[in-house]
Symmetry: C2
Subunit: 401 residues, 2 copies
């Protein structure tokens, strides 16, 4: 179990780069705002920890709540249970091959893991493996409210009831409720269209729950949520919980559509300037495709973001016109203005002067979940301070420890 | 230090998915072919281990050679030195902030690390830090032969000689030679155009070396290489070593241009089928954007590859028309035929039958370096065998252990 070392006052200038920075003040503000939103709607908040994969972040995100969380890998189930998060929804369609590892976590830590399935075959195979182990799990039926990923159609009464009946006769699974994720809200521009998706997400989940209840199944959990729909939903009648995740950190993809402001982005990548190339008109930094990810989700909504925006090391607003224009495995190439080739020699000189060799910058990422994943820790900062207040560990990869 | 556990005859069916599979037979064939190519050109092979980050792979890639390797992070320098690889070129522009960690590796393991720089400022800062520590390093001058990433222009005699002079008077650095990387060969289609880039890479590196020698500097190493140019180069006169990397595993990006065949791809991701969605006409697998990476490099050259091709679990040729059409964090969505929406109901039924719930597939990745990076191990297989012969550890992330 990775310790969470307090590391008072290490300077940002001393960190090995690339490194992940997490602004605690912004994180706390984001988490408080979402908690208030859930309270206003009268639903529980079961934050999705796939974004941060960090127990310290989970503590902030569940402050004043039950401690129930959502995760996306077996490694996360194991990691969070070790840190005392014992009410877990593993929100990816389950397969029998993962049951042994999940059973081990339940037994070792006294955790309760809710599984997800959308067909009778999966339920049957998972139930058989659980029975063989003497294990028991809660099971949520996944409903597809437009994302086209996993899930039964909300009006497919036959399929919903067949799955619920299979769960009921399994002897090893208990029907916990229904779950949907409006992942397509990530591709919707404009708050109006996201509001419509949020309502379809709500209505679909509630309809599926009602269909099951009409067939005398007990449905305790009606779970919805992605950050865009959680932020934009006007009503959540009939819903019992929401599961947003990326709101903890926010990112350019959310900011590009007004789901948050640039100042709400808590996560950045600290990088060092390692070169100036006057011919290609680029500044080189040591954060490349692995350190930032090749995700450029926000390009769907806004131009000029490259693979991330460049900020001064103190985290103040992005430097105008500067963005990571190209990525290689361990190199990022920063350009200024236009397409980075059409800007004037004065612009180029100004960029080289703003980013001298050996200096440091912060890069705001497109998609916080993708950027944070491969790192093993967060360096926690506060506002424009130049020191690291703490180091927070995190899960990574797919295998339990 | 991660042990390299032999793990005889674990079945592929028992692995936690997603998992990285590495076909040892193909790996060895790829490594032997590149070693022969280097020998034919009369140059040393200093394989780039950024692709695999694995000591066992490094052993295969340096078989019969000096053991000299190339790496891309401080974590890799540290990892490979622990496994006895003591002649290392760290082929990313160096900054003073990394000198302490590299010095520690040199001292602890008796390693020799060559650094890379393309400007006087970087050399001055790095040399000062090295002097303060009592450290010494070899230094390679980076030359830009068209990639527009790092490097001095090959004909910029003034800059080349100024850097060499700064190295010479540093007291802590020794001029080791010149290095170039024709990274733009990854974007060139057709073997003819790659051949031209290979010749420009060779000529530029040699020109820079000659310029320095004419000013009475000693230049031992003239280093070139990316896999495409290493495979296509017709002559390497004046060059002393090549540094290809991805050839160890190969991938769809290389296959799409005929640099290798599909049968030469040694790396794949093992995934489990977790759902069928008849409405979106997709099969869901548990390998998503993190497990495969969002890299789609080969799309520059060939349509229909999605985010990876789908093969049966025994690794035989890709299933016709099937590819990973969409990625979410932990979900991959497999489509068949056309755009995955236009295909017939018969095609859809055939796909669902070929990929039943709970079954396993292998996915061939676009870009092996990006796909392998976030995993902590390889499961080594051979040909179409269904068992894992060994587990090989690897470095990951950026921080030394």
């Amino acid at each position: 179990m990775r310790p969470m070392t307090p590391l008072a006052h290490t300077a940002l200038a001393e960190l090995t780069t690339p490194a992940l920075l997490l602004d605690r003040t912004v994180l706390e503000r984001n988490c408080d705002a979402m908690a208030q939103r859930a309270a206003r709607h009268g639903v529980a908040l079961r934050p999705h920890l796939k974004t941060s994969k960090s127990a310290e972040v989970a503590r902030v995100a569940t402050r004043g709540h039950s401690g129930a969380i959502t995760v996306s890998t077996v490694a996360e189930v194991d990691y969070f249970a070790r840190y005392g998060f014992l009410d877990l929804t593993y929100a990816v369609g389950i397969s029998a091959s993962k049951v042994d590892a999940l059973h081990r976590v339940q037994r070792l830590h006294g955790a309760r893991v809710n599984l997800l399935a959308d067909c009778v075959e999966a339920v049957r195979a998972v139930a058989a493996r659980a029975r063989a182990l003497g294990a028991s799990f809660g099971l949520l039926i996944e409903v597809d409210t437009g994302g086209g990923r996993g899930g039964v159609a909300p009006d497919d009464e036959e399929a919903l009831r067949a799955i619920a009946a299979e769960v009921q006769r399994s002897g090893s699974l208990t029907l916990a409720g229904v779950l949907t994720h409006a992942g397509h809200s990530y591709h919707a521009d404009g708050l109006e269209s996201i509001r419509a998706i949020a309502e379809a997400e709500r209505a679909g989940a509630v309809r599926a729950a009602e269909c099951l209840r009409a067939a005398v199944f007990t449905v305790d959990i009606v779970s919805v949520g992605a950050t865009p729909t959680a932020v934009c939903a006007e009503r959540l009648d009939g819903v019992t919980e929401m599961r947003p995740g990326v709101y903890t950190f926010f990112d350019l993809d959310q900011a590009a559509r007004g789901i948050c402001g640039i100042e709400d982005i808590a996560l950045s990548v600290l990088a060092t300037v390692i070169g100036h190339n006057p011919r290609s008109r680029r500044v080189l930094i040591d954060a490349g495709a692995l350190a930032l990810s090749k995700d450029e989700s926000a390009a769907e909504f806004r131009d000029g973001l490259g693979f991330g925006l460049v900020c001064r090391v103190d985290g103040t607003a992005p430097l105008p016109g500067l963005r990571v224009a190209e990525l290689h495995q361990e190199h990022g190439l920063v350009a200024s203005g236009g397409d980075g080739h059409g800007d004037s020699d004065d612009d180029l000189r100004a960029m080289f002067e703003a980013l001298p060799i050996g200096s440091r910058v912060r890069i705001l990422p497109h998609h916080a979940c993708m950027t944070a994943a491969p790192y093993d820790r967060y360096h926690v900062v506060q506002g424009t301070g130049a020191s690291v207040h703490a180091v927070w560990g995190k899960a990574l990869g797919w295998r339990p420890a």
